[in-house]
Amino acid sequence: MLSIWKKIPEQIKRLSFLVILIVAGYLLISPLFIPPDFGKYGHFRASAVEEIASQQMNYVGHEICANCHEDVSVIKSKGYHKNVACEVCHGPAFLHAEDPGSATLEAPRGRSYCTLCHEYLPSRPTGFPQIVAISHNPMKPCITCHDPHKPEPPVTPKECSACHATIARTLSISYHIYLPCTRCHETPEKHKINPREFTPSKPSTREFCGGCHSIDAKSDKGIPRIDLATHGHRYVCWQCHYPHLPEAK
């Protein structure tokens, strides 16, 4: 044993002394810096989860409002805004639900709040009701005509553009500008009130477009003609021509 010790070069001995010192120092000191519950449930401080879990809540959720505002909740549950949570418009209400007397809520009575959702944007999905605020009954707050909790249009919108604004705008700059939507889509009147339940029809055959565009069709003289038998092979017309912006290029 001693002979091995003698064989070890001097510098290695010193170095190993240093290494032992560092390791021992680490073992002694590191517990002081690593919290006791570190590693209990994984490579993290277990109590951090408790701390995060006890963060103060600001939104209480839509269910609790009904306890004290039953009237509004019942009205809202039947209208178009049934899926729009109360706190979307009235702001976070945790404190209000705890103590309604001292923590009061605001109501967004101006026009600018409704337009966050309802202003016309081409990126919005088709079917979502949109308006152009500067031309839709300007100057008056929206809530003079629409109950925010049950927002029905005072009269059923006549125009399809109310909910299909992007398509309507596209169509209005196309060759088909003079074709009313209902020429191609048979639309039940109820579609404008309950759109997903009563869906309009869509053209399904080549002959439909052929009714105006075929060489032998009895339609207006100015309409460009194609030979239904050969034009466009077996495909339906709208596989090549977008019907709301038909182009022959």
Partner: protein, 262 residues
């Protein structure tokens, strides 16, 4: 000669034996330790009786339902006291516009918190939609891998959290996140991010962004419970995740997502 060979064989056998023993002495305590940890995690109960190991949270986002109203961005900031200034977001909404000439325009003014403005030059847009984004709560999170001190971690229910007391603010995780979902809080100097509103979900509530979404474009749920809106969402839609090639295994699932979105 023969003798020599057999003793050599014995030596080799001994060596292999010892080697395997040495390996086992490293591995077996590891296995036992891991089993012990799994057992302990199984008994882990948070203050209100919530057992993390019984849940596995995820979110579904339906692109075709998002109207870009930005209420989620607003609610997230209010719920979690995220700084009001732009650039600090736990969730935000991007607008994608595809042009006729194959160009793509992506923007997100102030994270979409005040919704978007209608553009006048919309003529050559052929398709356009909104994409809400947030921390993807990866099952294989790069941010956790790079954290030098264990201040960001995955809990037993799959949510990635940040330890406010323990975070050094070194920004490794911000660099590592492929989704840009993290930021350094300007005052506390902590690398923050979405927690799926951990303080809400353990109480059985939805995250704030899901609570305020008016069109149910955001769906939240437990992947281990079969009767949950999220499971239907996964059953009925063509799903994709962001940057699947990175193998981060996100738990935020997108329906009707365009391949151009990353």
């Amino acid at each position: 000669m023969r003798n020599n060979e057999s003793s050599e064989k014995q030596n080799r056998r001994k060596f292999i034996q010892h080697f395997l023993f040495a390996c086992a002495s490293f591995i077996i305590p590891g296995i036992i330790g891991a089993q012990e940890l799994v057992r302990k995690v199984g008994t882990w109960v948070l203050k209100n009786g919530y057992v993390p190991s019984e849940h596995h949270w995820g979110m579904g986002i339906d692109i075709s339902k998002c109207i870009g109203c930005g209420r989620c961005v607003d609610a997230c900031k209010k719920e979690n006291n995220v700084p009001k200034e732009p650039f600090f977001f736990r969730t935000w909404v991007e607008q994608y516009r595809f042009l006729e000439n194959d160009g793509v325009v992506v923007d997100s003014p102030n994270g979409g918190i005040n919704s978007f403005k209608a553009e006048t030059s919309e003529k050559n847009i052929i398709r356009s939609f909104f994409v809400p984004k947030l921390c993807n709560q990866c099952d294989n999170p790069p941010c956790v891998q790079v954290c030098p001190v264990g201040a960001t971690f995955k809990t037993a229910d799959g949510v990635i959290l940040v330890d406010k007391e323990y975070c050094l603010g070194c920004r490794y995780c911000i660099q590592a996140c492929p989704y840009g979902a993290r930021f350094l809080h300007p005052e506390t100097r902590i690398a923050e991010k979405c927690t799926f509103c951990y303080h809400r979900i353990i109480e059985g509530l939805d995250p704030a962004c899901v609570e305020v979404c008016p069109t149910q474009a955001r769906i939240f749920g437990d992947l281990t419970h079969k009767a949950s809106p999220l499971v239907r969402f996964k059953r009925m839609n063509n799903l994709s995740v962001l940057k699947p090639s990175l193998n981060t295994e996100p738990k935020v699932y997108y329906a009707n997502l365009d391949g151009e979105v990353r």
